[in-house]
């Protein structure tokens, strides 16, 4: 580490977190309808358990995990299954979803359930409970959390890293979670450490969240080796590989997983969610979402039922300003622009950022002038300039030889490019094309 808590390269976009960083998380009222896609996580979509007309209570399982790399889906509000149809999905596709007409007169109290006694459970059972709770990575990637809790025996894990970096501009989801629920986070860490059998846990937080650093430092358990590591504010500090590099000083080998260097990384929101499972027994049915950006009238940190439509969330935040032009799910660096106000917020939706013409300006594209800025920003040391040239002519195999598969699509190269070449978009396409070709071959 040598005194510098950061990685090489990266960029410094304006943080713009002041809009919501001081606002407490408020619960949003239940909307009239909830839309729950069966595919809300990486891995296999869940399999349907309900049919149209069924009455469901809040927290009831409506879809079952299909295999190990999958999680169940739970009703986030009591009501009646109104329809099962294709609905717009945040990834841009239409996905099979359960539409629930919310019961206006329900007290929305989940059925009483048995809270698992974590102290008496073995690692396998903890993993089972986490899967049953439908927990996925709440940092955006939505990878089923329990899968990371069962590393194979040939890769002993020694450190649990809790990712509270939240390096995306605008978002304050993890920030508020850490400030408001530090005990729950610490409880989640305790359970995870037991499940993984690790001795050490490190909570990485960017230095622009001093209150979160203070709250978690105050609540550190005395009987466990857990520490808080303040990190330099730089994008993409919260990328798994960058965070591991800072905490352990080791680079995850190309094409390998964090467990290959003895590390498991979990988002701080997922940790809090696990804490809640073992506190109340409730599955993942709501999450903290930052609704922010200059294009939204009342920026807020909200506790939103999973499956709430974008339209309802925006309406609760007093709607959009006149000059709003773009709505992004997730942060502005890696998030996806949404074309449809009926798209639901799902488990992996960290935030809703509404941008105006000023930020999301459409820009003229110029030829690459080989200025080298992309090379100086790339956190995995690729040559985006060269990759971009290859992408323009569809030379995907050559891109692969130039290490395209190491690209994590963080967007730093596009962010700095003075010629406004959509580099990371081209790389996402290139990676997809290569995967397809490999699948065919």
């Amino acid at each position: 580490m040598l005194g510098s808590n950061t990685f090489r390269h990266g960029v410094h976009p304006p943080e713009t977190k002041h809009l919501t960083e001081k606002l407490p998380v408020r619960r949003m009222p239940f909307p009239e309808e909830i839309v729950l896609p069966l595919r809300q996580h990486a891995g296999k979509p869940a399999t349907l358990l309900v049919k149209v007309g069924d009455r469901v209570e809040r927290g009831d399982k409506i879809a079952e995990a299909d295999g190990f790399v999958s999680v169940p889906i739970h009703a986030s509000a009591a009501g009646t299954v109104k329809d099962i149809r294709l609905c717009p999905h945040p990834d841009g596709s239409m996905a099979e979803s359960v539409v629930i007409a919310v019961d206006r007169f329900s007290p929305q109290v989940p059925r009483p359930r048995i809270v698992p006694n974590w102290a008496g459970l073995g690692p396998k059972q903890v993993v089972e409970e986490v899967q049953k709770g439908g927990v996925v990575g709440l940092g955006g990637a939505a990878f089923p959390t329990h899968v990371k809790l069962l590393p194979p025996d040939d890769f002993p894990v020694h450190t649990l890293i809790i990712n509270g970096a939240e390096c995306e501009p605008y978002l304050t989801t993890d920030h508020r979670t850490m400030v408001e629920y530090p005990e729950r986070v610490q409880f989640g860490i305790r359970i995870m450490m037991k499940a993984l059998g690790v001795e050490r846990a490190v909570i990485g937080i960017e230095k622009n969240k001093p209150d979160a650093i203070a709250r978690l430092t105050e609540t550190l358990p005395e009987d466990l080796d857990v520490s808080v590591l303040p990190l330099t504010v730089k994008y993409p500090q919260g990328a798994e590989k960058m965070l591991i590099k800072v905490v352990t000083g080791r680079e995850v080998p190309s094409g390998k997983l964090p467990m290959h260097v003895g590390v498991v990384v979990q988002n701080v929101g997922s940790i809090a969610c696990i804490g809640e499972i073992f506190e109340t027994g409730y599955p993942l049915i709501e999450r903290v979402v930052t609704v922010t950006g200059p294009g939204v009238r009342r920026p807020s940190n909200l506790l939103v039922p999973v499956g709430t439509r974008l339209r309802d969330v925006l309406e609760f935040c007093d709607g959009l300003t006149e000059d709003a032009v773009q709505i992004v799910f997730g942060g502005p660096m890696m998030g996806a622009a949404q074309p449809d106000l009926d798209t639901p917020l799902i488990k992996g939706t960290t935030g809703v950022v509404v941008l105006t013409n000023k930020e999301a300006r459409s820009v003229e594209r110029y030829p690459c002038i080989h200025c080298g800025r992309c090379l100086e920003s790339c956190p995995v040391f690729l040559n985006p300039s060269l990759l971009g040239t290859l992408a323009e002519t569809g030379r995907y195999e050559e891109m692969e030889a130039s290490n395209l598969m190491d690209c994590m699509l963080c967007g730093c190269c596009s962010y700095v490019c003075p010629s406004h070449i959509p580099l990371s978009q081209m790389f996402a396409l290139g990676k997809n094309m290569l995967r397809k070709r490999q699948a065919v071959a």
Binding site: P13, K22, R26, K241, E251, V252, P253, S254, R298, S300, R311, L314, E315, F316, D318, G319, L320, V325, Q326, V328, P332, M333, M334, G335, A337, P339, V353, E359, A360, R361, S362, V363, E364, Y366, P367, I369, H370, G372, R373, L375, P379, V380, F381, N383, L386, T389, L390, R395, A401, D406, L409, S414, Y415, V416, P418, S419, H420, P422, S424, A428
Partner: protein, 355 residues
């Protein structure tokens, strides 16, 4: 703190239809960008050249202005006629013209300067496909063409005239006519004096620019300041000029220590001829220099070595132009050889293809 009122959203009468009327823009991430743009870089370079132009005109009078204008007119016109639509707006042709003007002698016939500008942009850039595609620095290629075509005119240096207003040579020679140059040949550049007569020039004169030479190459200190501004604003890669200066200083310094009477001293080497302008403005041309950080060092060291080699042992007094053009040709190979090690990989992958 925001006032919290759960019902406010609906009471305030947010018109949901106005939400749907908004045309939501779809784009790929990232949705934020720096304010940088290629034209902004180019025009900043142009802006940083203004003081150098002003001093050039101060030293060389109306001739300097005319030559620079002719070269710039030639290159911008060519870009306008044969370049892509609206490509003159990106400012790169203006840079080529200005730089070409600055590396010509003040008494240079205007039609030749114009031709040089046309050649630089036409054959130095557009023929490769326009901005970003060229191998060689267009301004230097224009000058190399002029040196090959008009060897006499380009090595004709003026003596200081009596009045600032008088021309420094036969600027208005008719096209395809030899310029009349009876007296002016006697003036000489510091490098010429050094090479052919073994005379040195005072360091102070070199730094402030009150010597003979090409229009914009003489004021070494000023060029250093203007280039330094660009480096601070990150509009040029500081590694390239620094490595050139260090290499020239160390190499020529070593020679000077071996034989102080036979070789020029290193400070003279740094501030004479086109080294300052070349290192700051032409070697750093982004299009024709390496993209990797390590490559920039290799490139700069290469230019520095070649400059000293040509100046000391070559047939010409000046070597900056050929040194940079030669290293330009090597840039693709330098890029390939200096690919950074990818995160999480243990060795460099030399097999990767290079454009």
């Amino acid at each position: 703190m925001t006032e919290w009122n759960v019902g406010r959203g609906l009471d305030a009468g947010t018109d949901i239809d106005s939400l749907t009327e908004i045309r939501l823009r779809i784009a790929a991430s990232p949705h934020l960008r720096t304010a940088h743009s290629t034209p902004r870089i180019m025009w900043n370079v142009v802006g940083s050249l203004v003081p150098i132009l002003a001093v050039a005109i101060y030293y060389f009078g109306p001739s300097a202005l005319l030559v620079i204008a002719a070269a710039t007119f030639g290159s911008v016109l060519t870009e306008r006629l044969f370049g892509k639509k609206r490509s003159t707006a990106d400012g790169s042709a203006v840079i080529t013209g200005l730089l070409l003007g600055l590396i010509l002698p003040p008494g240079f016939p205007l039609w030749m300067a114009f031709l040089g500008g046309m050649f630089g942009v036409g054959f130095g850039k557009l023929i490769f496909g326009g901005l970003g595609q060229n191998v060689f620095n267009p301004a230097l290629l224009g000058r190399a063409f002029l040196q090959a075509a008009f060897p006499l005119a380009i090595t004709t240096w003026p003596v200081q005239p009596d009045s600032w207003w008088s021309l420094r040579g036969d600027n208005f020679a008719l096209p395809l006519m030899s310029p009349s140059a009876p007296d002016v040949v006697t003036g000489a550049t510091p490098l010429g004096l050094m090479k052919f007569e073994g005379l040195s020039t005072s360091t102070l004169d070199l730094m402030i620019g009150s010597t003979g030479g090409s229009i914009g190459e003489t004021a070494g200190l000023l060029i250093l300041v203007c280039g330094g501004y660009l480096a601070l604003r990150k509009y040029l890669d500081w590694r390239i000029p620094l490595s050139i200066f260090l290499t020239v200083f160390v190499f020529s310094g070593g020679l000077w220590l071996l034989g102080p009477d036979r070789f020029p001293n290193p400070v003279f080497m740094l501030f004479s001829g086109g080294l300052m302008l070349g290192a700051m403005y032409m070697a750093t041309d982004m299009v024709t220099s390496p993209v990797t950080a390590a490559g920039s060092w290799v490139f700069g060291i290469g230019v520095g070595l070649l400059v000293v080699l040509i100046r000391v042992w070559g047939g010409l007094p000046e070597g900056v132009m050929y040194a940079i053009l030669f290293m330009n040709a090597l840039v693709p190979f330098i890029n390939r050889a200096t690919q950074p090690r990818v995160f999480g990989q243990t060795r460099r992958k030399p097999k990767g293809a290079e454009a």
